[in-house]
């Protein structure tokens, strides 16, 4: 009764979030006194087996099929469902990313089984026993509210909230086993058909520094000073939902529950009040500096650091100070 981790990758490139799922799976496996195994879909992912072993996989089950050469939610979900039937794991764990939640939901629908997504804690009452109670704390409202729930199912399907479990190494045996699946040709209907690749570089979700602007920026043009600050620091500009609703910036720049979740070393939130919608997208930031005229704004009271003042004066002053120091260096 192993704990099986569904490995997320893009044409062989491992998603770091998978290692968070490995860490969560190791904890559950310790509670149940069982081992951890990993499931990779598509031949391109064979190469990640050694990384999975370093992170605690005792067995890596590798599925090869032409339909798994690129991502497709239905083909992936069907492959996971067949793996679950073949391996009979106690639980299946993936990270709660877009793909992680999507693949697990496809698998759950096929297995007719419950799926609890975005879990923060997983408690199992009695070790290795079929009567064991599974009690879970999961994220609601993008993580601003939690839900305690029970999960009753022959196999426990779970995803863990991104950025909650910390990836860490813990060597596993890493035995590699092929796992045959049968996928019908029509599953190709939801495999990625074309791609438009973005130029390489930092993105909102991977940037070490994000300069965010809210309603207080006042206009599309008002973002020029934020762009300049982000530019000198090699960061990226983000914004709140109020900004995209006003048409000042594209939705791809939106930080929040319905936009992008960020986790930079520093988030500089300028003229942002800090509504729940925005906060949950920013709360994984390691440090937050709020720049706001209102010392009582939610963003200010929740931030690690704050500057009280008008961002239109403060932001250019910071940029100038950086340039001044660099000129002296």
């Amino acid at each position: 009764m192993t704990i099986l981790v569904v490995v997320e990758h893009d044409r062989g490139s491992l998603a770091a979030a998978t290692l968070e799922a490995m860490a969560a799976a190791r904890r559950v496996a310790a509670d149940l006194a069982t081992d951890v195994s990993a499931l990779t879909l598509g031949a391109a992912a064979d190469a990640v087996a050694s990384v999975l072993a370093e992170h605690g996989a005792d067995t890596v089950h590798q599925v090869h099929h032409d339909l798994l050469a690129d991502y497709g939610p239905e083909a992936w979900g069907e492959a996971v469902a067949q793996a679950v039937r073949a391996l009979q794991p106690a639980a299946v764990v993936a990270c709660g990313t877009d793909r992680g939640n999507e693949v697990m939901a496809q698998a759950a629908a096929r297995l007719g089984a419950a799926l609890v997504v975005n879990c923060n804690t997983i408690e199992v009452s009695a070790a290795g026993d079929a009567t064991a109670q599974w009690t879970i704390t999961r994220s609601r409202w993008g993580g601003s509210l939690l839900e305690r729930c029970t999960l009753v199912a022959p196999v426990k399907l779970l995803t863990v909230t991104h950025h909650v479990f910390e990836a860490s190494t813990s060597p596993g045996a890493g035995s590699v086993l092929p796992l045959p699946v049968e996928l019908e040709a029509w599953l190709a209907r939801t495999v990625v058909a074309e791609r438009v690749e973005r130029a390489a570089g930092v993105t909102l979700s991977t940037a070490p520094l994000v300069v965010g602007g809210g309603r207080g920026v006042g206009s599309a043009e008002g973002f020029a000073s934020l762009e300049e600050l982000a530019g000198v620091l090699g960061g990226v500009v983000g914004c709140s939902r109020a900004v995209t609703n006003n048409g000042w910036r594209n939705h791809t720049d939106q930080v929040g529950q319905t936009g992008t979740r960020i986790a930079p070393d520093l988030y500089m939130a300028c003229g942002i009040s800090g509504a729940i919608q925005h906060w949950v997208g920013a709360m994984a930031s390691k440090q937050i500096l709020a720049i706001n005229t209102d010392p009582e704004a939610n963003m200010v009271t929740k931030a690690d650091y704050a500057v009280i003042g008008d961002l239109h004066a403060v932001v250019p002053a910071i940029t100038n100070e950086i340039r001044r120091r660099r000129a002296q260096a």
């Binding site: 877009d98 496809q106 994220s139 409202w141 209907r189 791809t252 529950q257 520093l266 650091y305 009280i308």
Partner: protein, 260 residues
């Protein structure tokens, strides 16, 4: 063509979400309600598709009787028909509507509507609901109807008997080409929803409300209670006021190793 859009009534919270004394629900005494944001965009997209290609759009919701408000909103911006699956605090529609029970009831209702009025070419859901965020009801319904489904869609184009759907990924944009009938989960950003006009709001009151009693099998995920997240313990360090604070901010950037 026929387009169905499934929506959910959710509270519209501001800075903090409070929980009722019994821990079973969000305290909505001082909150307004809205259509879950991704679904607001799905409604707009359904209306645009019908405007461009002709046909009929329908909005469906499973929720309390008050969720009629969200159906009227959909009608006010141009949706033609409304279907309510009303749930109650007790009786056969009481208790927790977990994702399996919800998708079971919606699948059955869609099958009933399609048997009477013809199949939907496209069914739209939101990527996930704002409140419970289970990320699975649309996918389960699509599977129940044996239709292709892709979530997270930020662009829809119809043509050649199929639908081209775009979604953003870490490395760029992925394009999926699905045969119709299909199901798509829409993400905010696909469009900027219009505001209802006065004329639209008046017209929405005359749209007939089709009521279907929901019935679904209870699933394996059962809520015990809602829990507030821990408040931040530390206080905010104020680095200064106005532009004079700039040197302190740059000191912080240096300390964090961000000034390379």
């Amino acid at each position: 063509m026929r387009v169905l859009v499934c929506v959910k009534r959710v509270p519209a919270p501001g800075a903090k979400i409070n929980i009722t004394a019994d821990g079973q629900a969000v305290d909505t005494a001082y909150l307004a309600f809205t259509t879950s944001p991704h679904e607001e965009c799905a409604v707009e997209e359904a209306v645009r598709l019908i405007e461009a290609h002709g046909g009929e759009s329908t909005a469906l919701t499973l929720g309390p009787g008050d969720a009629e408000e969200q159906l009227r909103y959909a009608a006010s911006i141009g949706v033609d028909k409304c279907v309510l699956l009303p749930i109650d605090s007790d009786g056969s529609t009481g208790g927790d509507w977990d994702p399996q029970r919800t998708s079971d009831a919606i699948t059955t209702a869609i099958q009933g509507i399609e048997a009477a009025d013809g199949a939907f070419d496209l069914i739209l859901f939101g990527n996930e609901s704002a409140d419970s965020g289970n990320f699975q009801v649309g996918i389960r319904v699509a599977h129940g109807l044996s239709r292709p489904m892709v979530n997270g869609i930020k662009g829809i184009e119809l043509g050649n008997g199929g639908v081209r759907a775009r979604r953003e990924s870490e490395t760029g944009v992925e394009v999926y080409v699905l045969p119709l009938p299909a199901v798509l989960g829409v993400k905010e950003g696909i469009n900027l929803p219009r505001y209802p006009t006065l004329k639209g709001r008046l017209a929405s009151k005359k749209v007939a409300l089709h009521v279907v009693c929901p019935s679904g099998v209870v699933g394996g995920q059962q809520m015990i209670t809602l829990v507030q997240t821990a408040e931040k313990a530390s206080t905010t360090v104020v680095l200064g006021h106005g532009p004079d604070a700039a040197p302190a901010v740059v000191d912080l950037l240096e300390e964090l190793g961000l000034l390379k």
